[in-house]
């Protein structure tokens, strides 16, 4: 072997070369299709129907009452469902963290709780119909349950169930990462359990709550299966996107709706991460 060929390449290369493989993956799988989609929605598509740069497709979409309603309903369902999910998840993960410390292995509980992550959205929609559809199993109990699945409260419950297993994992990791000595010290200093929760546990869990919430909201926004199953009721944005695609292949119009949906989802994710990091810095610096 010639001298020099066995040299260690340890000098730090310029950042962009180091990031190359990762960036290639991004470009191949993200940036290019997104660019094409955005281009389409701006009338820059290569299809003969599209005639040059314009914002008219966005104007059309936002002028449509049904699209505006779907947008609002989507934002409401995703936001409220994720908030409700977090409210349910926090006591569960705190309880799990306590169990872990006591060594009372919650492995099976843990497995059961996150198992529903495997349940497709379409099955969850199905659950809702089975229980609260127009001829659902719960309908005989109270007539209000009949058809509840297709209403806003019904959708909310379905999406809470959809989001719960997705939220439990990351939150559990965050709760396990909180040093137990913090809450113990707060207790010995004279704080009640409620006070410790309000002044120590929740503030320190907040960054994780925000970030996890953002991600869950993004996934809920884009979740098609649940709402597709329940498509007789309230319309959410993914339904419109699918509709625009199937009822006549109008590339620009459907691209516009797709971009709106993707933008909302990405905004939720990015906002959650950014805000989470910001709060994290404020909380832990």
């Amino acid at each position: 072997m010639a001298p020099g060929t066995a040299r260690v390449r340890l000098r730090t290369p310029p950042p962009w070369t180091a990031a190359l493989p990762a960036l290639a993956v991004i470009g191949l799988f993200s940036a290019y299709p997104v660019a094409v989609l955005v281009g389409n929605s701006l009338g820059l598509g290569s299809a003969p129907a599209d005639g040059g740069p314009t914002l008219e497709h966005y104007a059309d979409a936002l002028a449509s009452a049904s699209v505006r309603e779907s947008l609002a309903a989507s934002a409401l369902v995703a936001g409220v469902a994720v908030l409700a999910t977090l409210v349910i998840a926090v006591p569960v993960v705190l309880h799990q963290a306590r169990q872990d410390r006591a060594g009372a292995g919650g492995a099976s509980t843990d497995a059961l709780l996150t198992l529903p992550i495997a349940l497709p959205g379409i099955i969850i929609g199905f659950f809702a119909i089975v229980l609260n559809g127009r001829t659902g199993l719960l309908a005989p109990l109270w007539e209000g349950f009949a058809g509840l699945a297709y209403t806003l409260p019904g959708l909310l419950v379905a999406y809470v169930y959809f989001s719960l297993p997705r939220v439990l994992g990351p939150l559990r990791a965050a709760a396990a990462g909180l040093p137990h000595s913090l809450t113990e010290s707060a207790r010995t200093l004279g704080a009640s359990k409620a006070r410790v929760l309000a002044t120590v546990t929740l503030p320190l869990l907040l960054p994780a709550l925000i970030e996890t919430g953002g991600t869950a909201a993004a996934i809920a926004l884009g979740g098609y299966g649940t709402v597709a199953t329940l498509s007789e009721g309230i319309r959410l944005l993914p339904l419109d996107v699918a509709n625009a695609l199937t009822t006549g292949y109008r590339l620009a119009a459907s691209s516009t709706l797709a971009v709106l949906l993707a933008a909302m989802a990405v905004a939720a994710l990015v906002l959650g991460r950014g805000l989470g990091r910001l709060v994290g810095r404020a909380v832990a610096s």
Binding site: S181, R187, G190, A191, R195, S285
Partner: protein, 358 residues
Amino acid sequence: MTDLREPETGAPGLTVSDLTIRYGDTEAVRGVSVQVRPDETVAVVGPSGCGKSSTLRAVAGLTPVAGGAIGLGGRDITHLDPARRGVGLVPQDYAVFPHMSVAGNIAYGLRARRLPADRRRRRVAEMLELTRLTELAGRRPGQLSGGQRQRVALARALAVEPDVLLLDEPLAALDPQLRGGLRRELSAMLSSSGCATLIVTHDQREALSLGTRIALMREGTLVQFGTPRELWEDPADAFVADFLAGAVLLEAERSPDGAAVLDGRWRIPAEDLGTGPTGHGRTRLLLRDDSLTVTDRDDGAAVTARVVHAEFVGDAVRLTVDAHGHVFGVRVPPDARIGRSVSLAVVPGRATLLVPAP
């Protein structure tokens, strides 16, 4: 719970009586009794897993008590909620709240007790002063060094005027090079706080220098409880002697002309031996690193030992030797020539025969 004796929990200071702690089927602590008088610092010391931390956590109310009683300031706190015990805890990782300033940390317990704002501010200022943190009052813990964080935790615990201060391995989290200085600093702050203190440590030097009394634990039981000098000069057993001072304690038989050890194979003349009283019943010989020397004599006053290891310790070479199955440390001058076995004799006056009081 099944203990029929009346636990003595009425004394001032901290009284731990016959404490037993169980984790599942294992008894982590068995029948430990320790008292900390107001104004006194007791160091609970022992190897890892000896139950010392469990004892501290039981006092703080963070670990359930299976038997025995804990009294503090005349109250029985055995089963009291941790928030109502009046203890000041400084955990091993200091557990400084990362989302509060130094002043906010110190005020935490005072807010929880709903102290009026003006009295709270005054108390925080006092504590900042005591722990020399006044200039750092507005800082976040993330910007502090380990030693500064320790002081925040100490100030926070002292702010609520606890009946006992509990320190769990207070120096273990710090850079070894800084530990000596911070130990002296801590010792000074503890004595100026004037609060009954229980310190848990695995380091015998820390125990000796910080404790006005030392409770030495082993495998869940209390082996000896007394002043550092009592433990140093009259260890209860070979474990205490070894753990605290790296010393060896041998069963001895006293005769008018000296003492016989190692089943009579080594007879030490009386004129070479110091004597001391022991409260532990049997006659024993206490040998430290500097008690023995290498000799040319080969009479009954010397014992032959195999050299297991030699290491330079700066001003001397420390030999590890094995005599009839007992391992000793012997310091010899760094330029001494040492073979594979040596004859050892006692340095006059440096070995102590512990004799039961008549």
